[in-house]
Homo-oligomer: 222 residues x 2
């Protein structure tokens, strides 16, 4: 890589090794949205290491708007399971024929097995950052939270741990059971744990729900 | 790490090496939002490698809703520069006293120097994914795009290249100059290039705009 740096430039932002770059690409490719967990707990130190990795994410104006909620109580988890079951039944009913059959065959959550539940919220009214960079694009606050989630996802896979993002939930009905302040916007409910198995391909692809398209289909020039 | 896997479990989702895990954390910590670029071009093969890294991101229902627009024409870039200047003047006027002085001293864009401009959009009406996982949380489409951006950001830093996210822009006034279809939602305008220098700390922190808080301030249990 160094040979591709501009001639005469002082190489002060040194590239990582080529071996690391190759491993990083392999990490991107192996990261999966996991639904099948073992019940074994995650070590506490590992969970905190993942949260620290998330906490290094970029944020608009250095606002750090992510709020991590470890959902541990039986009552809170039961409310989440119930919400999933309602939303899943409604979603299932919206498909017809073969697609409905495909939908019913998918495993879309691992809420009962996953030892760790993490709700990630966005503080939509934080004073931190002094509003910088969000006047014309207020969505950048939430965007920052997503960067943190992707860090956590990658760090998890690097450590052999699995993350599954459950979006078949009704955030409004869970606001009270989870005790969320009004200024915390729901972003992502994550199941975390040890995976049952490695998968080379997304489960949605293996199940025939959807297939991935090449980069050329989403790349444009102006 | 292997010793922390559950007893008796088949280690089929193998962790990456501890050396890689440590380097990954260093990558997270060194990734910066860069504003000061050299004018030297990025090699075409490198740009495509970064986009391929982004394209491995997770997406709700395998929808792959990201749309990458390489902004290259003089006319398009001039429109972006003009929009930044208007939005920046308006934002600057919103601060008072010392904070206004601080704001005016920040370098908030590198639009003229950065050799590569990339607009990342979200196709908000894509059929890909068959609507899975976005009935109760439609924001998950845009969320997927952010995961792709964070991949690109990390891959760039690993290769010694810099990314700067410019959010002081008015996306509506740029829709026509950039030829964006109505179903493409503006997500992020990224400047890319070789950085002038390495920075151990965010420039906003060095400039006294904001400082980072510890994880403990954003971590909660329910």
């Amino acid at each position: 890589m160094t040979s591709q740096q501009p001639q005469g430039g002082v190489d002060r932002m040194a590239p990582f090794s080529e071996a690391f770059q190759a491993e990083l690409l392999r990490l991107f490719q192996l990261r999966r949205d996991v639904r099948r967990f073992k019940r074994d707990p995650l070590p506490e130190a590992e969970i905190l290491a993942l949260l620290e990795a998330a906490h290094t994410a970029p944020s608009v104006g250095l606002s750090q708007p992510w709020r991590f909620v470890r959902v541990q109580s039986d009552a809170a988890r039961a409310a989440v399971v119930a919400s999933f079951e309602r939303a899943n039944a409604a979603a299932s009913a919206a498909y017809a024929d073969e697609r409905a059959q495909l939908y019913r065959n998918l495993k879309l959550a691992g809420l009962r097995e996953a030892p760790e539940h993490l709700l990630v919220c966005c503080h939509t009214d934080t004073a931190q950052g002094h509003g910088l960079g969000r006047a014309t694009l207020p969505g950048t606050l939430r965007d920052s939270v997503l960067c943190a989630i992707q860090n956590l996802w990658l760090a998890s896979r690097a450590r052999g741990m699995a993350v599954g993002w459950i979006s078949i939930l009704d955030p409004e009905e869970l606001r009270e059971p989870l005790g969320l302040p009004p200024e915390w916007q729901w972003v992502a409910y994550l199941c975390m744990g040890w995976p049952e198995q490695e998968r080379d391909h997304p489960e949605l692809e293996t199940a025939g729900w959807e297939h991935r398209r090449p980069l050329s289909e989403v790349l444009f020039t102006r």
